[in-house]
Symmetry: C2
DNA sequence: CGAAGTTTTGAGGACCTTCAAAAGTTGTGG
DNA sequence: CCACAACTTTTGAAGGTCCTCAAAACTTCG
């Protein structure tokens, strides 16, 4: 998987466009965004709790997680972000980060200054709407995670997480057929599902034994989608892949003065 | 606690204003919003999963929760909303609701048509920003809940939830001193913390025994804030009570054409 | 090739659940 | 205003899921 900066920005624009329909002006404005590429090694923190960032990070390549850490030393991963996602879009409005951002692979991001993004959102109502929608999907995924951790047992939890990642990779065209690279350790999966690494190990063995998944190194294959979906109670609605509600033409979220 | 419609809308406007500073024009525009009051009995569903709502609901009086229900019959509450909160602000952009809304007391809400709210957001950038910020705080609270359910034990979980509610009630000026009405059953607390009602009961007894809280019917008193905070690892940052980052004056999230 | 990290396995135990029933509270209709 | 039903809280006992600790096997990487 190789991406250059152009395709990273493109991926982002395509995602926004699929979701809400971006005007061609908005698209070219986004393409003109000043960005600065930055590389991170594996297992680095892109941001820390308490930071007051001035830039948003668009993931070009790699996999990152957002996490909260507790005084006890334990960690809860609250989301994964894949190429085309903006990490910390919320930082546009929220001053102080309430969570950290961690790389799970070598990662390149495009840094976009808050001011630049604000300006484009100001000039292009459809961009503002698309960005807002993005944060709403983020929230919906988070609600699903709360449900996952709160009310499902270990097997269901893990199955649900793996299905979510598979569906998101598919939607982002990062995955062919049923197999994808999942560069997460069992400890990472544990931090995302509220389990221990040991129990993740045993649960994965069970999923493999039931022929629901197959693993080969860091490659994961969903062997039996239907059984996985049934087991996990997985329903893609919460990912809101269908895009936002479009206001009637004269009811734009944001309108220019006259018109 | 008695509220009329006027104070409900006021409460909402005050909250937005505290958070971001609303222009006086924006405030009066919001005050002029056409609303329709609607009453719900206790234990009713204001909305269901799969709904496609056309209105947002501003809570005037009462306590409601948003929840997801699983095929297994269990339920996960993903947030509580109190007077001055808008439930389903996300429905402005997200077509199909991924969760239900349930009343825990008799509740009155002000229904605000999506179109009306969109229009005001379109004309007043500071309103659009305030609404967006509101959804971001919602997401931040959800991340904290995921962490709570995923990585804290029963005592910490329950303490954390009670502290959050106490702090939010205080911020909304719905609570004097350390005592407030909490019209939730132990089963409700269980659904919010991912526990069983039985274990909530035992955990509450422990909290009472340690003199951390006191209960009298549906009245809850935080007896020892400091010990509760330490126990739960509670830090108010995630509630973002300080309000949003304000873009530089010519860098508004949304700008009128000329200016 | 050695060191560090990851996966796997085992054993014991803790936390929390489940089931069941009693005690207490609230709400409703006669 | 009492009686009764429905709900909520409380208690007990038994058991299962998941955790902790520990160590071995395996993999990755410099």
């Amino acid at each position: 998987m190789v991406y250059n900066e152009y395709s990273a920005l493109s991926r982002f624009i395509i995602k926004l466009d699929q979701r809400g329909g971006l005007s061609t002006q908005a698209q070219s404005a986004l393409r003109g965004l000043p960005t600065r590429a930055r590389s991170f090694k594996i297992h680095q923190d892109i941001a820390r709790e308490g930071d007051r960032p001035t830039h948003c990070c668009l993931i070009a390549t790699g996999l990152v997680s957002r996490y909260r850490s507790l005084r006890s030393g334990s960690r809860q991963i609250v989301s994964f972000q894949i190429p085309g996602d903006i990490v910390d879009l919320q930082s546009l409005l929220v001053v102080v980060a309430d969570h950290g951002v961690h790389t799970h692979t070598a990662t390149t991001v495009l840094m976009i200054a808050h001011d630049d993004l604000s300006n484009i959102a100001a000039e292009h109502p459809d961009v503002a709407r698309a960005l807002w929608f993005d944060t709403l999907v983020d929230a919906a995924i988070c609600r699903e995670w709360t449900t996952n951790v709160g009310r499902r047992d270990a097997r269901q939890r893990l199955a649900h997480l793996l299905l979510e990642l598979a569906v998101r990779f598919k939607a982002a065209k990062l995955m062919a057929v049923d197999t994808f690279e999942l560069p997460l350790t069992q400890a990472d999966l544990a931090d995302a599902t509220g389990m221990t690494a040991v129990h993740v190990n045993r649960t994965l063995q069970w999923l493999r034994g039931e022929r629901l998944i197959r693993t080969d190194g860091r490659t994961l294959t969903i062997e039996n989608w239907e059984a996985m979906r049934t087991l996990a109670g997985f329903d893609t609605t919460y990912l809101h892949l269908e895009g936002p509600r479009i206001p009637k033409k004269d009811m734009r979220l944001v309108s220019r003065e006259a018109s």
